[in-house]
Subunit: 241 residues, 2 copies
Amino acid sequence: MKPKVLLVEDEPALAGALADNLEGEGYAVEVAPDGRAALERWVAWHPDLVVLDVMLPGLDGLQVCQKMRAQGQTTPVLFLSARGAPEERVEGLKVGGDDYLAKPFHLPEFLLRVKNLLRRRAETPRAVYEFAGHRVDFRAWTAYLQDGRKEALGEREMAILRLLIERAGEVVSRDEILDRVWGQEVFPSSRTIDNFVVRLRRLFEPDPAHPVHFHTVWGVGYRFTPQPEFKSETTSLKEPT
Amino acid sequence: MKPKVLLVEDEPALAGALADNLEGEGYAVEVAPDGRAALERWVAWHPDLVVLDVMLPGLDGLQVCQKMRAQGQTTPVLFLSARGAPEERVEGLKVGGDDYLAKPFHLPEFLLRVKNLLRRRAETPRAVYEFAGHRVDFRAWTAYLQDGRKEALGEREMAILRLLIERAGEVVSRDEILDRVWGQEVFPSSRTIDNFVVRLRRLFEPDPAHPVHFHTVWGVGYRFTPQPEFKSETTSLKEPT
DNA sequence: GGGCTGGGTGACAGTTTTGTGACACTTTTC
DNA sequence: GAAAAGTGTCACAAAACTGTCACCCAGCCC
């Protein structure tokens, strides 16, 4: 899956240009025009890197970074600032920024620094997920099943699994899966997604015909549930023996 | 254990001052006055971070960094340079540098950036690595195989081996191998990496056709596993942590 | 210079993954 | 109920990717 970059910049022209360039490098980009929007997108989207302008209307960049760090998140942050005063740079690094670049900057340098910071993404510790006795290692692209089997995961397989797990408990629509996993350009047939879900069920479900973890939400998409819970509202309708 | 910083700077006054400050921050510091000495100390001492002046007598900083990267080493590198031209910064980042600071710089900023870079990696690279009865000596570019044979390793061969070993258990993508071993500018064909892996397998795998250590991760890259893992289908014993 | 040696390339033959269409089956809607 | 819409599965084709091999090239050491 493409690395996700959250770009926080209030000047539309610069924001647009940077976004284009980042997209050209193969990143998924979202733009937030101010601090509040930045925090909101950050929580909702879980970007892999935040590019943060220091001067912003309302909440400034430093405060945004501080807020994020206060929540124990280690998402790398690259500061951008018009004033390149050393004291300010130090401020930025002190509140937990990982890099600091003064405007106006050299575009290739910016892109390289972004790439550098993202390189660390693979090293995040939160790469193993466990549920119902299975263990999925996203770094090793491997699933250790409950029964001890070890299975290698394909790229798409992993992407879908990761997406569903990230949204555990929520319904993820087919459209969104298509968007996230395949990108806007490609449109595989609807059967394709099903196929992958089938495979996931075969791997993780005790009884693939009666899924406990990978629920189908009719007319919309799928929902992943770590624990086979019995929610009164949903199960009361029909329960086959 | 104190983080080890190798400071490569030919001007004695500056070198002394920086060394003092770094030591004041609690790092163990060694100083190398030129490129050749830098490589020598690097091999012998295995620092956790290299602070590298770009302009050096003889071998310049960029070349030093390139040499280190060509050996698959991922030790973070912080470049220092009198000329802050953007093109030069980009050069530095391209050969695998992790950060770039223009002289004259603000001391607190320097110290913060050092701290930042050290935050990344805790594990110290080892000079000699053993697995499955083989022993690899990265200093001597030599592998002592399980059966007693002794094999010389080429530079690239070593670089890839080292990179994979540093990331043991993790998938290392082809892109990343290219980046770290060859640098951003060179693009050897995709077959090239395969070839080296083939060679590594021939050396270290009991049965090269069914690799136990150098796994292919389809569509992405390779993964090194020190311990031969149990085959999936048969046993349901206990799992590695 | 002439033969090594380590690196790098292109071709080719596998492999594995991904995507598709057909078809049966379920759930909704009317 | 019956028609319509949406899903689960399967076999199979199309792509994409990897393992090898023979071979080329550039330094390097006599």
